[in-house]
Each structure stands twice: as structure tokens, then as C-alpha cells.
């Protein structure tokens, strides 16, 4: 009688674990291989035990079920190897219960004097398997990478190493941080490239992302402020997309936006002002893409598991993936620093570089690091920082005010200390991205340097009269400095040496409708 109970529960546990059932219904994906093997073994043992009820078979079945009980308990109490989420699904609990019943029954069947030894053996075996899994976890990142609709394994290292996308990074550049729910794939990048250059993504078919992010201008538009698809002017200068994969935060001043995926929806759906103007035209825009055989093919390739892949969620994911590939690291500066080309920089640019990195001009305190901004995050970042600075552009009321609606982080937090705080942008390709500042209010690089030399801007007429140099929220790193004409020229030559010609002509980043 007991024998049949054992056979029954073993078959139950074995079936749940074995690959006969859809794996979404069984266990945590990263454990799938292990549990499939365990399930197959249990099924075989059950059948064998039904045919020949030998004590030896019972012994092995007992060890398997018993050690697995210990394994599950350890995993729930301490940590689950190969993943860091603890999912107890109904099938997993059922299989676990089956193990307990099998184990208890088998203990009854075996001779009394071996019971303690058997329990001990189960504990040891379970502990050893758990320990080995833990010790070997880091050596098998691929096993931890497995996502399904039901489960996501939030193991970043594993996700990064297991993606099929091969970063073509310039020497000295770290791997960018990629959110675990949107791993890079070549198909998504390809789809994103078409979407980026497609005016059909705007409500009235007139503008694409590339309208305000032009490759030859390092993905800016050369205007003071951009004009949206319905003619509305934005209040902020169009930002360069150079190396946005490394941004700690996105847009000019918003500590909440920490992923490109969050930013991309703003130009698409924003109403104040209208940029792409999709809001109100959601179905029209989506239908345009669905009708096009090219997009049917591109979406299917990028999201192969989905029956209806043409969704805004997927558009955002693909655009973000494409924008992440806009990596610029082949300027004369890079050739000098990372590629050993000692002739890449002129004498003047070299002097400018030393001035830039000096404690005299203080440039590097906000524009430091390989990407020339402290607002940087990458896979090797252990202490993410989100710097924002007030540089003394305005001081309308003498108490530090910036023009209404354009007051930086203050617009988000309402905290007076955040008045006029904006993100320091990368200085790579800076010679191409005039005009400057969050509102495009300074026209040339020379004027920007003079602005910092003055320690802020004193506005003496117009709507915004006020001495920004005395803005109480101004950064301590903008006290002003003396600069000679020669130093000015050297500093500008250094900034020009950050221009990456390959980046602004790279066919992989160009308009695919013109040169696929």
C-alpha cells in the first residue's frame, strides 16, 4: 500500500519537474535544467520501484526527495543559487509536498535502525548541492540568464554577458549600464534605427526623432530651442545624444529619469509642449507602422515571442536600444589618450587639456571622467551619483530665481536648494552642439568660457535682469577666473579635439531610409 503511495507522489513530483509540462508552470527558470533532471530521475525511480520494490531503489528515491527538501528550505531561508528572486509557485509547492510525502513514506518502509543515517545523509546531500551551486554560481552566468513572461531573473551581470549583442566599444570605455528588462539585441537596434529616422512616428507625419537630433551636429539641431511637429517651441535646447548610454539621469534636469526608456516617451507623447504629437493619434501612428511590411518584419525579428509586436512598449524599447549605440570615443583626444597616438593633439590642445584638468579653471569638477560629465553611470559604477549644478546663468529676483517653468531640478522637487540646478552634459562633440546651456542662451564656446570666467552672467536689460554671479544657489566651483587670450585659444582647441568625425559620419547611425 505504502509502496503505491510512494510511486504516486514520485510520479507527481517527476511530472511537474520534467520537461513534459510547460516550463513556465514548473520552477524558477534558472533551476529548470536541474529540476528537469531531478524530475526525470524521479519518474524513472517511480516506475522502477513499481516493477521491483527493492530497498536499494527506495534508498536512492529517499535520498533524492530528502536532499531536495533540504535544498528548497536552504534556498528559501538563505539564498537561491543562480538567481536572486524567490518564487514559490503552486506547482513548485505541490512538487515540494510530494517530496515530503515520498520521503516520510520511504522512511517508514526502510528498517528503523537506518532512519537516522538516512535523514543525516539527506541533510548532507542537500547542503552539499546547495553549497556547490552557490560556489559555482559566478562561473556559469549563462545559466542564470533565462527570462520568460512569468519570471525575470534580475541578475545584471548574467544578463549583460548573456545577451547576443556585442558592444563595439572604443578603447578605455566601460560597458554601459543596460536595464535588465531591455537587454541589447541587434534586431532591436536595427528596428530602433528605422523608427528614429521615421516621420511616420509623429502624429502628423512631419517629424522624426532625427528632426531635432541630427547626426552631423552630434545629434543636436543647431537651434536655440527646437520646434515640435505642431509648431510649438520647446523651452529647452535640444540635447546631444552623444554617449547617452552612460547618462546617470536624462533630460536637462530631472533626477527621476534614470533610464533612456523613461525619457523616450516624453518627446513621443509630450503635450506641454507637443513634440512628436502621438498623444491623440495613438492608433493612427501604430496603424501606419503595422501596415508597412518592412516594420512587420523588423518588429517580428526584434520581438520574436510576441504575436502582436507592434506596440508602443516595444517602440520605446527599440528606440532606447538604438540610442544606446550612439557611442562616441574616437576623437583626437581619444586617439591621444587611449590609442597611443602622441601626434593626435596639437601643442595648443595639449596646453588646453592641462588647463581643463587644472584646479585653476575647475572645469573637471563637473565635466570630469571619460565622458566629460560627472553625471555618468556604467556597468562598473558602484556608487551611482546624480549631480546637478547651478552655474549662475540667472538671478531674477536677487534671491536666485531662474525664469519660471525653466528652473531645473526645482521644477521636479520644489526644493528651493534645487533652484537652477541642471545636469552637466558631456563635452564630447561640444564644438558641434552650439548654441549652449539648457535654454540655448549662449551662442559660442568662447562666450561659454567667458561666462565661466566671469563666475556667472550679469543680465542688465530685458525680462531677466539680475546678477547671476551672485546667485545664492550657484556651485562653489564657479567662482570665476582670469584667462589670457592664449589660454582661451588653447582651451577651445582642446574642446574641439573632443569632436569625433567618425561618430557623425558612422553609417550604422545614419538614416536607413537613405542608406540602408
Amino acid at each position: 500500500m505504502l509502496r503505491y503511495l510512494v510511486v504516486l507522489v514520485l510520479i507527481l513530483a517527476g511530472l511537474i519537474r520534467s520537461p513534459f509540462l510547460p516550463f513556465e508552470l514548473t520552477n524558477v527558470p534558472a533551476h529548470q535544467l536541474f529540476y528537469a533532471a531531478l524530475g526525470a530521475a524521479q519518474l524513472m525511480l517511480a516506475l522502477y520501484f513499481l516493477w521491483q520494490p527493492k530497498p536499494r531503489i527506495a534508498q536512492v528515491a529517499l535520498l533524492l526527495s530528502g536532499s531536495n527538501i533540504i535544498l528548497v528550505i536552504l534556498s528559501q531561508l538563505i539564498a537561491i543559487p543562480f538567481t536572486n528572486i524567490a518564487v514559490l509557485t503552486l506547482p513548485a509547492i505541490l512538487a515540494f509536498m510530494a517530496d515530503i510525502i515520498a520521503c516520510a513514506t520511504l522512511l517508514l518502509i526502510t528498517t528503523p535502525h537506518t532512519r537516522l543515517i538516512n535523514i543525516f545523509a539527506c541533510v548532507v546531500l542537500g547542503g552539499v548541492v546547495w553549497g556547490l551551486a552557490h560556489a559555482s554560481e559566478s562561473h556559469f552566468p549563462d545559466l542564470a540568464h533565462y527570462t520568460t513572461d512569468q519570471f525575470e531573473v534580475f541578475d545584471q551581470v548574467a544578463m549583460l554577458s548573456a545577451t547576443d549583442y556585442a558592444w563595439d566599444l572604443p578603447p578605455g570605455f566601460p560597458v554601459p549600464y543596460v536595464p535588465p528588462d531591455n537587454p541589447m539585441t541587434q534586431a532591436k537596434v536595427e528596428l530602433g534605427r528605422y523608427l528614429f529616422y521615421d516621420p511616420r512616428l509623429s502624429g502628423n507625419n512631419t517629424m522624426s526623432c532625427s528632426s531635432c537630433h541630427i547626426q552631423s551636429l552630434a545629434f543636436t539641431d543647431g537651434r536655440i530651442v527646437p520646434i515640435g511637429s505642431t509648431g510649438e517651441a520647446h523651452i529647452r535646447n535640444s540635447q546631444s545624444l552623444t554617449n547617452v548610454a552612460y547618462n546617470a539621469t536624462f533630460t536637462w534636469g530631472n533626477p527621476v529619469l534614470t533610464q533612456i526608456e523613461q525619457q523616450v516617451v516624453i518627446p513621443m507623447f509630450g503635450e506641454f509642449p507637443v513634440e512628436m504629437g502621438i498623444t491623440g493619434n495613438e492608433d493612427v501612428v501604430l496603424n501606419r507602422l503595422m501596415q508597412d511590411p518592412l516594420y512587420q518584419q523588423l518588429f517580428a525579428a526584434a520581438f520574436p515571442d510576441e504575436a502582436n509586436p507592434v506596440t508602443y512598449h516595444n517602440i520605446v524599447q527599440a528606440l532606447s536600444s538604438f540610442v544606446r549605440t550612439m557611442i562616441s570615443g574616437n576623437s583626437p583626444y581619444d586617439r591621444f589618450v587611449y590609442q597611443g597616438d602622441t601626434t593626435a593633439l596639437s601643442e595648443s590642445a595639449l596646453r588646453g587639456m592641462n588647463l581643463f584638468l587644472s584646479e585653476k579653471f575647475e572645469c573637471h569638477h563637473c565635466h570630469g571622467g571619460f565622458n566629460f560629465t560627472l553625471s555618468t553611470r556604467h556597468a562598473n559604477t558602484t556608487f551611482p551619483e546624480q549631480p546637478f549644478f547651478n552655474t549662475g546663468l540667472y538671478n531674477i529676483d536677487g534671491a536666485g530665481a531662474y525664469p519660471r517653468g525653466n528652473r531645473g531640478v526645482f521644477e521636479i522637487t520644489g526644493n528651493p536648494d534645487d533652484m537652477g540646478h541642471f545636469r552637466p552634459p558631456t563635452l564630447r562633440n561640444i564644438a558641434l552642439t552650439a548654441p549652449y546651456m539648457h535654454d540655448g542662451s549662449i551662442a559660442t564656446l568662447e562666450e561659454v568660457i567667458l561666462f565661466y570666467a566671469a563666475g556667472g552672467r550679469n543680465i542688465t536689460n530685458g525680462d531677466y535682469i539680475g546678477d547671476g554671479r551672485a546667485n545664492p544657489y550657484k556651485s562653489g566651483f564657479v567662482p570665476g577666473f582670469q584667462i589670457t587670450d592664449q589660454e582661451m585659444q588653447d582651451l577651445i582647441n582642446f574642446l574641439i579635439s573632443l569632436t569625433d568625425e567618425q561618430f557623425i559620419t558612422d553609417p550604422k547611425l545614419s538614416n536607413p531610409f537613405e542608406s540602408p
Binding site: 546531500l125 578605455g172 591621444f336 595639449l350 587639456m353 584646479e359 562598473n380 556608487f383 567662482p479
Partner: protein
């Protein structure tokens, strides 16, 4: 079956063997606390009566690197503390002490995480003293901050390949209404290389690494206090400083001589005179009980503590 079982037993017997080597080691933790005189140092507080001209200060950054930690035995022998390699605060023999929590003014360059501990292992022994360097050894000081292991991967603590890291970064604000900066950035100077972005091959002329030594250290009860008030005691913080604001390690920076003296260093040589750094006033010992008391006072409502003494109590500014 018996064979299988005995195999398991054998396996179990081998487990303790792995730990055998470290059996004679003991864990040691050194505790640090950042203070401004008798108050805990915090980004969101303003402190009064600091320095020669009794200035009012707050700080926007407060981080420093400690390395080469040595334990002193009763015989006077120096035993290196083997740091736990935690992948975050400690790497090789370097530790980052982080006293800014990313709030208030610290939000611009800082982050949330804090660290006031050094954790490591040392052979079992009676230790009576402790010694450490404030700075990063040359071999680790001139690398690529982008790819360096944590905590040597923080751009805000880095100058350039040539200059290396800022060993000490304290960004003071001396006049809240003007946001006036008085920054202390200490690192090696006189590092010769063809350009700022190329690491030097020879030692820097002025390492600017001070050595702090406590020959009588109670590992049970002592905490090492890092005290801004004593570091700045003889400095006039309101006086207009020529550029740059504060001491950025410049050999001709008029703000530097006193800071260097208070770190035990000679500004001209970048080392302690005659290897004696004992003129430093930045670090001193505190009793753990007192520190706990201090932390409690700090958490109390300002009104409650205001009445007791007027001298050193803070204003809860901004």
C-alpha cells in the same frame, strides 16, 4: 549503500580543512566617526564658531582614502591588516571613508552610501596600537578611474592619470548666503608625465600622504574621530582666498600651508618632516560610549539640546 554513505562522511570531513589556514586569524574592525568639534558631521547641518574667525560652515563633500593599515603589537612590531575585499569600500589595502550621504549640498557630487569602518583580518595577537596612511599608494594612484575596481572608480575623487586621486575631498561652504566655497582637495603633486592624461612612471615629487599613528589604541572601546573643527582651528575661513577657493594641494596656494601643517605634512616636500606626522590635528581618538551619546544627542530635537550649552550647538540650517 554503505559505500555511498561513507563517501558522504568523507566529504563532510574535508570541509573543515578549507578553513584550517585562517584559524589563527582574528577579525578586526576599526571604527571612524566624522565630527565637527563635539557634533556629528552631517551634510544637512550648519556649524558655527569654526576656525580663526569663528566662521559658520557646512560641507558639500567629505570623503577620504585610507591605506596601508598597520597594527602595532606589544613588542612594537607592525602587522598589516589584511582588508576584506568587499568589492565596494575596500580593495587591496585601500579603504574609502565616506561621510557624505548625498543630502542637502552633498547632492551635487555625492551619493547616499556612507562608510566609517575598516574591516580586515590579522594574526591573533595582542595589539596595542594602529597606524595608517591617508592617501593611496603610488602603484594604485595613477590608473583609469573608469575601469578601476571600487572604491577607486569614483570620478568625483579623481583628478587625472597624472595627479591621481583626491586622497581627501572636503568641500566646505563658508557663507550660506553666497554659497562661498572653501575646498580641501589633497592629493599627490609634482607627478611628471608628458600630459595630464598620462600616468607618471616615476614617483611624484610630493606624495602628500600623511601617516596617522595611535600607539595606544583600545580596540574594544576606541573610535577614530575625523574632526573638521580641529583641522580648521587656526584657519581664517572668511578671508578672501586667492583662486582656487581653499587648498587644492598647490605648492604656492596661500590657503595650503596651515591645512598641510594640520595634516602633519610639509607643503614644500609633500611628506611629514623627519617622518613625524604627529603635528596633525585632523584625527583623534574618542570613546565609543561618548560617540554613541553624541549620536543620540544629534537625533534629539534641537530645542532640547540648545539650553544646555550655547557654544557648540548647531543651527538646523536649510
Amino acid at each position: 549503500m554503505r559505500q555511498i554513505l561513507s563517501l558522504f562522511f568523507l566529504f563532510c570531513l574535508t570541509i573543515p580543512a578549507f578553513a584550517q589556514d585562517e584559524a589563527e586569524m582574528q577579525p578586526i574592525t576599526l571604527y571612524f566617526v566624522a565630527t565637527v568639534g563635539n557634533e556629528m558631521a552631517s551634510c544637512s547641518q550648519t556649524y558655527t564658531n569654526i576656525g580663526l574667525d569663528e566662521a559658520q560652515i557646512s560641507f558639500n563633500d567629505f570623503r577620504l582614502y585610507i591605506s596601508n593599515i598597520l597594527l602595532i603589537t606589544t613588542d612594537g612590531d607592525l602587522v598589516p591588516l589584511q582588508l576584506e575585499q568587499d568589492g565596494l569600500w575596500q580593495v587591496e589595502d585601500v579603504v574609502l571613508l565616506d561621510f557624505e550621504d548625498g543630502t542637502a549640498g552633498c547632492a551635487t557630487t555625492g551619493n547616499e552610501a556612507l562608510n566609517g569602518e575598516i574591516r580586515g583580518m590579522a594574526p591573533v595577537n595582542d595589539y596595542v596600537g594602529v597606524r595608517f596612511d591617508v592617501g593611496i599608494p603610488f602603484e594604485l594612484n595613477h590608473q583609469d578611474v573608469t575601469t578601476a575596481p571600487s572604491p577607486l572608480n569614483i570620478a568625483a575623487m579623481f583628478w587625472s592619470w597624472q595627479g591621481g586621486y583626491k586622497f581627501i575631498r572636503i568641500d566646505l561652504v563658508t557663507d550660506a548666503t553666497q554659497n562661498a566655497a572653501w575646498n580641501i582637495h589633497i592629493g599627490s603633486t609634482g607627478c611628471e608625465s608628458p600630459a595630464a592624461v598620462i600616468a607618471p612612471t616615476a614617483l611624484c615629487a610630493r606624495p602628500n600622504i600623511t601617516t596617522i599613528s595611535f600607539d595606544e589604541f583600545d580596540f574594544e572601546n576606541d573610535v577614530i574621530a575625523v574632526d573638521l573643527a580641529t583641522l580648521l582651528a587656526n584657519i581664517a575661513l572668511y578671508e578672501n582666498t586667492p583662486m582656487p577657493p581653499g587648498c587644492m594641494s598647490g605648492i604656492d596656494d596661500p590657503d595650503c600651508p596651515l591645512i598641510y601643517q594640520n595634516l602633519g605634512l610639509s607643503l614644500q616636500d609633500g611628506v611629514c618632516p623627519d617622518q613625524d606626522c604627529s603635528s596633525q590635528t585632523f584625527f583623534h581618538l574618542a570613546d565609543r560610549e561618548d560617540v554613541i551619546l553624541l549620536e543620540r544627542t544629534d537625533m534629539m530635537m534641537p530645542d532640547e539640546s540648545m539650553d544646555e550649552s550655547s557654544e557648540n550647538h548647531h543651527n538646523h540650517g536649510g
